[in-house]
Amino acid sequence: MASSLHLAEKTPGEGPLAAPGAAPPAVIAAGSVDLTFQTGDGPVHALKDVSLDIAKGDFVSFIGPSGCGKTTFLRCIAGLETPTGGTLTVNGMSPEEARRARAYGYVFQAAGLYPWRTIGGNVKLPLEIMGFSKAEQAERVKRVLELVDLAGFERKFPWQLSGGMQQRASIARALAFDADILLMDEPFGALDEIVRDHLNEQLLQLWARTDKTIAFVTHSIPEAVYLSTKIVVMSPRPGRIADVIESTLPKERPLDIRDSAEFIAIAHRVRDGLRAGHSYD
């Protein structure tokens, strides 16, 4: 066990000891992904020629106007939609296989907690479905609720919590079964700005502690720049990638980094990308 771990660490491209300069293998690899929906009004080209690699430990934000396909692309990664063209792999498998292997946790726009389950019961839901033992369920619920700062709320019902707390509980639910990938679809879109700042900060800490790969859809430029190691700017009709920006910000990011010149420069580039891809007709 120990020796195999040792060997694995020495393999180039894997683990923290990877040779400098060697690109880590992509956790999510998209090559010319196309998706056309057949609707009553004729075909809708939702995604066109989307190519992107997401490496292990990346925090990738997708930003763009409504209809640019960012949520659709996230749903493709999750195996909830099937591309009509191109290649897409998640952990080296097809998205459908990855979904069956429970490779990712998905956080939706709304918390979507079951009102008849307590917070603990909601976090337990995926664990019950995946067949974890009772003892392990209890242990994991306790651990992830602490992770999102909700210890002590296990027995509360969702309506007893604020919107921000509910969304944190839904993140705990996505973390409970220890998938390496976290897919987040505008998770903080419905929250006010103060709560949102707070949750952004917490999410970064959580990401630093858990070493997850996160794909994050947002409407907000500051949110995307603040959180991401890589920002994917998308444009609509058809949904395609307009720009991919590698963030030069350090991994440690206090909230006031948003006033730094570097942050503003990146935000500016994102805005330019959005403007270039969007014709206001």
Binding site: P115, W116, E128, P158, W159
Partner: protein, 305 residues
């Protein structure tokens, strides 16, 4: 407590209208009776009185007005007469007596409960089938709707006669009619309830790669509970109506329906009215029980605050 005042107001208005209606409804009968008892009334002949309107007759024979509330066989009994009859036939009569409304109530209630159980079970089973199998959605739902367009009064005698010719009598035929009326609200409510989870909640289970059974037990069934309770409250009162209707066409000797017929056929309106009110009170109690069960269950499930 703040609900009590509006409810009492409505009750008072209904009682007031009822009390006022008793005089014109019964005045002709009361004047006839008074004349037989030797009281001088105007006009003097029954034929002449027929030409006088009820209110005019009451105005010309004000002394007879109190008697309109105490006739043995009134057209419209006064509320106090109905209450007295109810009291006499429930508290004042041995439960084993054929005169006891408790006895007749139990006969109807047992058919109601059996029919309701059959109807609810059938309704839930059909709803699950309709939600999970598209063929059932297309094939069963139209028949369920069509079944409710047939007047139950036309169907009830057929069910009783057909089942009687098969040698099945007593409780079961009435229960079948109850079930026939009560399964429909349960089907409609449960189909709606089982389909109530939104796309996001269904997608969430897909991300866990949950199977259909897990989707049913962990999402669809709990989500349908508020709908089920609403359906059960409609279903139980429909079941009671079904049991009473089942007693009407067959000359049943026991049950609320039998009492209503007896009162009608033997000119004893008090018996009919007492049975009517007993049935209404029974329905109210049953619905009230399900409301209480709903409150307690949904509160325990965390779905009510």
């Amino acid at each position: 407590m703040r609900n009590v005042l509006p409810i009492l107001t409505v009750v008072a208005v209904i009682l007031g209208l009822w009390v006022m209606a008793v005089v014109p409804m019964n005045i002709h009968l009361a004047v006839d009776q008074a004349q037989r008892d030797g009281v001088v009334v105007t006009p003097e002949t029954p034929a002449a009185r027929q030409d006088v309107g009820a209110l005019a007759l009451a105005a010309r024979n004000t002394g007879v007005i109190p008697a309109t509330y105490t006739l043995d066989r009134p057209r419209l009994p006064g509320p106090q007469q109905v209450v007295a009859e109810l009291w006499k036939t429930t508290v004042g009569t041995r439960v084993t007596s054929k005169q006891s409304l408790v006895y007749h109530g139990w006969v109807t209630l047992s058919a109601t409960l059996l029919g309701f159980a059959i109807g609810t079970g059938l309704g839930i089973a059909l709803a699950v089938g309709i939600v999970f199998f598209r063929t059932m959605d297309l094939s069963v739902m139209p028949w369920a709707i069509a079944s409710q367009t047939i007047p139950i009064l036309a169907l009830a005698p057929m069910i009783i006669v057909i089942m009687g010719s098969l040698g099945i009598q007593g409780l079961l035929p009435k229960a079948i009619i109850s079930a026939y009326l009560s399964f429909f609200p349960v089907v409609v409510g449960m189909v709606k309830g089982l389909r109530s989870p939104d796309a996001m909640q269904v997608d969430l289970l897909r991300t866990y790669h949950a199977n259909a059974a897990q989707g049913f037990w962990k999402l669809r069934l709990p989500a349908s509970m508020p709908y089920l309770f609403a359906s059960l409250k409609i279903g139980i009162s429909a079941a009671l109506v079904g049991a009473i209707v089942g007693e009407l066409p067959t000359g049943a000797r026991a049950g609320f329906g039998a009492r209503m017929l007896v009162g009608d056929q033997y000119g004893q309106p008090l018996v009919t009215w007492a049975a009517l009110f007993a049935a209404a009170i029974t329905a109210a109690v049953l619905v009230g029980l399900f409301s209480a069960l709903e409150r307690v269950s949904l509160k325990r499930m965390g779905m009510a605050r």
